[in-house]
């Protein structure tokens, strides 16, 4: 089973296997290229040697033989190198968490817990809205009370004003003086009537 090394890819920005493949291809190309150079250099040297018995195809065979040998060792050595690099260099140990994932450790929230947290937030929002509305209603009533109190106080002042008028005119107890007044006015009416009768 292939270990996709996704976590490593998250850190490096490439998969370790790609990195190794990149190295492998580059190294292999160089091996072939240098072998090709060797081959062409020897062929050129041969040209310079008069009536040389060695044919180019023989050189070609030697090159292939040496290259085959090198290739085998290359594969073996590269396999070892890849193993070491993938294990010790291009890998993220199991106990290591990348910085961008630190939050997962501090807040190991399951889906359910998150759900609950979001529901709680919804609930708080509703409660807050209700409180805010209640607050508005209370403030509205306070405003209204102010106006009503002002009105009622005005009426009270008016009554106080009445009492003051009485007091200003020496009428301590309005009721008695009113009774007295009524009597007086009754007497006056009777007097008036008498006078009228007499005058007739």
């Amino acid at each position: 089973s292939v270990n996709p090394m996704v976590y490593e890819a998250q850190f490096f920005g490439f998969t370790p296997q790609t990195c190794m493949l990149r190295v492998y291809i580059a190294f292999q190309d160089y091996l072939f290229e240098t072998m090709q150079v060797v081959d062409s250099v020897i062929l050129k040297k041969l040209d310079a040697i008069p009536n040389c018995k060695i044919s180019p195809s023989e050189i070609r065979k030697s090159t292939e033989k040496f290259l085959l040998f090198m290739k085998e060792h290359f594969e073996k050595l590269f396999g070892k190198m890849e193993e070491v690099l993938l294990q010790l260099v291009l890998n993220i140990p199991k106990n290591v968490l990348l910085p961008e994932d630190k939050v997962q450790e501090q807040y190991p929230y399951s889906k359910e817990q998150l759900q609950a947290l979001q529901e709680e937030i919804q609930q708080l929002q509703q409660q807050y809205r209700a409180e805010a509305a209640a607050g508005q209603a209370l403030r509205a009533e306070l405003e209204e009370q102010k106006a009503v109190q002002a009105e009622l106080e005005k009426i009270l002042q008016w009554f106080d004003g009445l009492d003051n008028i009485c007091r200003e005119h020496g009428i301590s107890n309005f009721k008695e003086s009113f009774a007295f007044l009524t009597q007086n006015s009754k007497k006056l009416q009777e007097l008036l009537k008498d006078v009228e009768v007499k005058s007739k």
Partner: protein
């Protein structure tokens, strides 16, 4: 397959931050 791995890993690295930016904006707007 390799590209898929790199693409997935890149999203895992970058997207939570992106989402977070929007989420924080939402909460801030709600608070305002």
């Amino acid at each position: 397959f390799d590209e898929l791995i790199v693409e997935t890993a890149t999203k895992r690295k970058q997207w939570p931050k992106k989402i977070l930016r929007h989420a924080v904006q939402t909460y801030k707007a709600e608070q305002e």
